[in-house]
């Protein structure tokens, strides 16, 4: 016998179809089983000299017999099937069908929830204030109108849900809406859990003693160095707030070395910047141009068209 050389090619096709019919059998077991079958098919073919299909019947029947004799369970879920078949198979699984029916019965609860979520999400987005006593109720005008709006939104959502059960065309847009509202439920839930905290916890007012003098981001400022747009350090610049209050620095402690401006009437002026200090024992500021190492950027904005006024001394 010179088997391998003149084995009818239908052994390969037959084997391939048997393999396909056993697609759900664990790979290792299937391979062993098919190795057994392959060797035997070659012998069958070489001994009978004819087609194995004619000898053994349809490969699918052969596979079924093999499966049952080997004690492997009949195929219920071939994994080699396409994604579409897989989805259909999952969708037709009795457990999935039962869960889907159960969820369908629970759907009205979601309808009510999504109505509220839609309204609450809109209120959050619009930055509406919320009822102080009932944290879940946004104020639309007032809390009573907010409560009415919630009831209307819930009723509308339930009506939409009931209508959608009959309207097949609305399925896709409604699915999109549900996904969006499901996502919106996250910030709404976060807001609710925040509001649900005891009122005393949220109404604690942290009072701190105001820091005397100037401060920037909480850090005290003991000097200010004003520069012109062309990078020139200015001297004795008087700074005021918008309310006209002088920006006085360190008025509490007396510093003998600080150079303090005074008015012609003799009043001290503490809001002149930069603040300078005399050399100890003298009335001389040693380096009046000393400043922080800043590099004034090149300014592209045109200078303000400030009309120069003639200085009128008092």
């Amino acid at each position: 016998m010179t088997t391998a050389a003149h084995v009818p090619s239908d052994v390969e096709t037959y084997l391939a179809r048997v393999r396909a019919a056993l697609a759900d059998v664990p790979a290792e077991e299937r391979d062993d089983l098919l190795a057994e079958v392959e060797a035997s098919l070659h012998e069958t073919a070489s001994e009978t000299g004819g087609s194995v299909a004619a000898q053994l019947g349809p490969p699918e029947d052969f596979a079924a017999e093999l499966r049952s004799a080997a004690g492997l369970h009949p195929s219920t879920a071939p994994p080699a099937a396409g994604l579409r078949e897989m989805i259909e198979r999952v969708a037709s699984d009795p457990r999935v069908v039962a869960s889907a029916r159960f969820l369908r019965e629970l759907a009205p609860i979601w309808w009510a929830v999504r109505g509220y979520v839609a309204l609450a999400a809109l209120a959050l987005a619009a930055g509406a204030s919320w009822s102080r006593s009932h944290g879940a109720v946004p104020r639309i005008g007032n809390a009573e109108l907010g409560a009415v709006a919630i009831l209307l939104a819930v009723a509308a959502s339930i009506a939409l849900g009931l209508w959608s059960r009959r309207a097949m065309r609305a399925r896709l847009p409604l699915a999109v809406l549900n996904v969006v509202l499901l996502a919106a439920a996250i910030p709404v839930a976060a807001h609710l859990s925040h509001r649900a905290q005891p009122a005393t916890a949220t109404s604690i007012i942290i009072q701190t003693e105001p820091v005397p003098g100037l401060a920037y981001n909480g850090a005290p400022v003991d000097n200010i160095y004003p520069y012109t747009r062309d990078g020139r350090l200015l001297h004795d610049v008087l700074l005021y707030t918008g309310a006209g209050t002088p920006l006085n620095v360190s008025t509490t402690a007396y510093d003998p070395y600080r150079r303090i401006l005074s008015t012609k009437a003799g009043a001290r002026v503490y809001n002149a910047f930069p603040v300078r200090y005399y050399e100890p024992g003298t009335r001389v500021v040693l380096r009046p141009n000393a400043g922080p190492s800043v590099k004034v950027p090149r300014i592209a904005t045109p200078p303000l068209p400030v009309r120069k006024r003639r200085h009128r001394g008092r």
Binding site: E29, L33, V37, A39, S40, H42, A69, A70, G71
Partner: protein, 111 residues
């Protein structure tokens, strides 16, 4: 009565008996079963049965190179297989005797 139906419950014992007599590979076991008179035993049934008996530990297996085509997987009987065969033998003897008496004819299938 359909012989294949009778075979179904007794193929384990038949295959064990064949392998107990002498180690054999799939096609060889099939041929010997047929030669023994089980002409309508299905190819796939025999291969499947051998694999199942092997998985259950009643058979051991080893591969032998063959000059003709693919390597052959030989099956030999294990101690567990012999126990199973002995049990099947006594069960069959009891059963066939009872049925023979009942039917007052000889049952055609013999193991």
């Amino acid at each position: 009565m359909d012989r294949s139906q009778l075979l179904r419950g007794t193929l384990d014992a038949a295959a064990l008996a064949v392998v107990a007599e002498q180690d054999g590979y799939g096609y060889d076991v099939l041929r010997r079963l047929r030669a023994a008179g089980l002409s309508d035993v299905g190819d796939a049934s025999v291969y499947g049965t051998l694999r199942r008996l092997y998985r259950a530990g009643a058979l051991t297996s080893y591969v032998e190179p063959s000059d003709e085509g693919p390597h052959r997987r030989y099956y030999g009987i294990t101690a567990r297989g012999r126990t199973q065969l002995a049990e099947a033998r006594s069960a069959w003897a009891e059963f066939s005797q009872a049925l023979s008496t009942l039917l007052e004819t000889d049952v055609e299938v013999t193991a």
